[in-house]
Amino acid sequence: MTARRIGLVAWHVLKQNVRDRVLYSIAAFALLLVAAALVIDQMTAGQDLKIIKDLGLAAIELAGVLMSVFVGVSLVAHEIDRRSIFNVLSKPLPRWEFIVGKYSGLVMTLAMNVAALTGVLYLTLFWMGSTSPDNVRMSWEAPATDPRLLVSVGLMTAELALLTAIALFFSTFSSSAMLSAVLTVGLFIAGLESDALRQFNLTVDAPVAGRLVTTVGWLVPAFSLFDVKTEVVHGLPINPGRIWFSLAYAAVYSVVAITAAVLVFSRREFR
């Protein structure tokens, strides 16, 4: 029964998102970036494949981050704003199932979008591989349709799942979607720089501030862990241990964020 209800809430979120034109516009934005890559193809020689891979992966990530933040923070806030939450929570649905269902629905949406955009990127790369002369192909550090791109995409999906959990957490206690978005984006940016934050005490001569910033560096989610774009694009080796650690890290941190969201939401009252 629990799995069925969570699945139903998730399916409902997915259906709403598919019907929401904002998602299409973000996807269109990503497609435009891929199209821009094609233009670059006309203007560069030899370096075009790397640029397209880099730009394509960055576009997929950016589209996912925008979706994750702006849809994530409105998942619960929207229900409260339009008061549909009154109907949902008066049903025999435990609140934790509602939160987990909402989260699963958005992660499903994100995974679908990432998969679709990755498909577009692979098609673009396949076209390049099949139309480039042999001497150009020989100069590439990695094949055009390099399956290792999927490693980057997989880690990106884990990163988006974690970001969604954080956005959802903020949306459960803040009554303003904008504030939740600002907090989520702030944490995301801090997380991208978490390595630098953790080593801050080594670079400054201020023990208290150094310790404080280093502590923050350990608390914020380490989003930099998930970025293997450089390795993938340049055909550099990726340590499998890093991949598994990153996935486990995303899973654990997401569970913690969702649990915190459930605890806050379970105590919340709706006037």
């Binding site: 409902h12 049903k91 025999p92």
Partner: protein, 308 residues
């Protein structure tokens, strides 16, 4: 008869703002009991605490003090809400869904299988007269239609207890009539309906029992006829064969004399006056009694009296 809804000394405070330490009291020591079956009206002016009471009863709000129960359980227990249907005030749903999709979703939240969901959605929409419009997107619905969808979603799990917050609010006369008919049908099916309203004629038509709230407190509670009888306005006694001279000599004993025909008069006397004495006196003067009718206060008069 066992109470299906019960509140005991229910008190609800809301924070009044960051700088104000004293909270705003929305409900103050509210104790009510609603037996199974029939229609219970929670009445009161705006801001009296009706919606707050109902939201506590469906688990959207927690009591600050006291307790609230439905089916003998706390409303926050999922099992208690399985037998409940709730319509919030001015309901709002997902515009991008059709009514059928919405109800199917809510039926699923109540635990029904995929095959049963659609059947329940269709049945509930037919009940509120929206069967033909069930595939239209909700954004195309009028306010009255959204209200009906709200009632349909409250009935999708075939609940024993239906709680409706201002179900007639914002509806035109036809819409109000239709909602009244739905409530009557639910009552006739043996369900318990609790609804809040400040539209007193509707309550008077529908309710078997009422509770009146004012400033968060219960100021009257009980059967509708008992309450209005307790606020009796006196008696109307009609005599035939009464002469104009006799009628004019009644003076201070009657509040109002109305001549109906040449020899038939309607006399209104105060509640404290015994109609038997007047009947005896006028019968001795040759008049014959036609009828004696107690003049009961309307719910509106009673409401105004107690909510001051």
């Amino acid at each position: 008869m066992a109470a299906i809804v019960r509140t005991e000394h229910l008190t609800k405070d809301f924070p009044a703002g960051f700088w104000r330490s004293r909270p705003q009291r929305a409900l103050d020591d509210v104790s009510i009991e609603v037996p199974a079956g029939g229609v219970f009206g929670l009445l009161g002016p705006n801001g009296a605490g009706k919606s707050t009471t109902l939201k506590v009863l469906v688990g959207l709000l927690k009591p600050t003090k006291g307790r609230a129960e439905i089916f003998g359980r706390a409303p926050r227990e999922v099992s208690a809400r399985a037998r409940l249907g709730f319509l919030p005030e001015n309901p709002s749903f997902y515009d991008e869904l059709s009514a059928e999709e919405l109800l199917s979703y809510f039926a699923g939240l109540c635990g029904y299988s995929a095959s049963e969901r659609r059947a329940r959605a269709t049945r509930a929409l037919d009940l509120v007269g929206l069967g033909d419009d069930r595939r239209r997107r909700l954004r195309q619905y009028s306010k009255g239609m959204v209200q009906r969808v709200g009632i349909a979603q409250a009935l999708v799990n075939d609940p024993e207890l239906v709680i409706l917050d201002e179900p007639m609010s914002g509806l035109d006369p036809v819409g109000r009539h239709d909602v009244r008919q739905i409530i009557v049908r639910l009552r006739d099916e043996g369900r318990t309906v609790v609804f809040s309203s400040h539209i007193l004629p509707d309550a008077e038509l529908l309710c078997t029992r009422v509770g009146i709230l004012a400033k968060g407190r219960v100021v009257a509670f009980g059967g509708l006829s008992e309450l209005t009888a307790s606020a009796s306005r006196g008696w109307e006694v009609v005599f035939d064969g009464l002469t104009e001279d006799t009628a004019s000599r009644l003076g201070g004993r009657v509040r109002r004399v109305t001549r109906i025909t040449a020899s038939r008069y309607s006399l209104e006397i105060e509640a404290a006056e015994r109609p038997e004495t007047l009947v005896a006196d006028l019968s001795a003067a040759g008049a014959s009694l036609v009828s004696v009718t107690p003049l009961r206060a309307t719910l509106e008069e009673f409401f105004l009296q107690v909510s001051k």
